[in-house]
Amino acid sequence: MAVIGVSGHSLRIDRIECGGHGVCAELLPELIELDEWGYPILRDTHVTAELLGHARRAVAACPVLAMRLDRVVRQKSGRT
């Protein structure tokens, strides 16, 4: 399939800043769950358009601002 430029957002966690507060998992359970010590497990770094609003809210709500939402233009083949 043709390779097309797909713009989107990707989620990144600063693991040193992260204190395991767990707010992100409350606000974005679609992408984030917590391990047994309360630290986030990122299921997928790619944020779909439907989840973008939730992701933004999760980023803003992090008590230590350990999450970033980066704009990416990625080369993605037709099949996902």
Partner: protein, 243 residues
């Protein structure tokens, strides 16, 4: 609150009562905001659920504090009985009326404004700078408390004194709770927090005993102000503080 209602019925200007009520409610809200911030700040064990709600409560309480502060300040300035310019709202110790004690209120307001403004742009500011400013919240609370005790027309009411005592108790309890959960490490910081939490109530009690609860505080309150305090202001004041 019955005392305030009675006072409202006998007082000369509704604005003045709005100022006092607004200030008192703002102090209660500020206390709730600060105590919540202290109690849930830090992170010591995995916590499930309600993290976001507590954060939202902290933020909403702080916004509500600012709303009542706005009422407190606007009504105080709008009330023509005491001549206060708009500058007094943001420039500390610029008032002719009870310069020092009112100035404390302005200082607390400025600190809260700084905390609120930086919180609004927290994402752009970055965590470190935001947090450095956010620490000012800890300073705003005792300053506001002393402003209330020193300027507050109602300080001599036992209901008002009970409210102050309640505010102090809540914040001290929050500090203790935080220290209890903190565990080892950062000994110096924990010691300072403990000492500060103990000093504020003691100093406040001594101050209340020495000043506002004694007769003649109205004149002394003006006297402790800076040179900009004018005698004209004190004459206004005499009529006020007997209430």
């Amino acid at each position: 609150m019955t005392g305030i209602v009675q006072l409202a019925a006998s007082g000369p200007s509704p604005l003045w009562y709005a100022t006092r009520a607004g200030g008192t409610v703002a102090l209660l809200l500020l206390t709730a905001t600060v105590a919540l911030g202290i109690a849930v700040g830090g992170r010591y064990e995995p916590r499930r659920g309600a993290r976001f709600e507590i954060g939202a409560l902290h933020r909403n309480l702080s916004v509500l504090t600012l709303v009542f502060l706005a009422l407190h300040i606007v009504t105080a300035i709008a009330d023509t009985f005491v001549n206060l310019g708009w500058l007094v709202a943001v420039v500390p110790f610029a008032a002719s009326y009870r310069t020092f004690w009112l100035g404390l209120g302005t200082v607390a307001f400025d600190l809260m404004l700084a905390v609120a403004a930086t919180s609004a742009v927290r994402l752009r500011l970055g965590q470190r700078r935001w947090k450095a400013v956010h620490w000012l919240g800890y300073a705003a609370w005792p300053v506001a408390l002393f402003h209330a005790a020193g300027t507050g027309t109602d300080t001599r009411l036992s209901v008002q004194l009970a409210l102050y005592a309640g505010c102090v108790a809540v914040v001290v309890a929050a500090v203790w709770w935080r220290l209890y959960r903190a565990g080892p490490g950062r000994l110096a910081a924990r010691l300072w927090a403990g000492v500060a939490a103990a000093v504020v109530p003691v100093v406040l009690a001594m101050f209340l005993n020495w000043g506002p609860t004694q007769s003649g505080w109205a004149q002394r309150a003006d006297g402790t102000g800076s040179a900009s305090a004018t005698s004209a202001a004190s004459t206004f004041d005499n009529g006020r503080s007997v209430a």
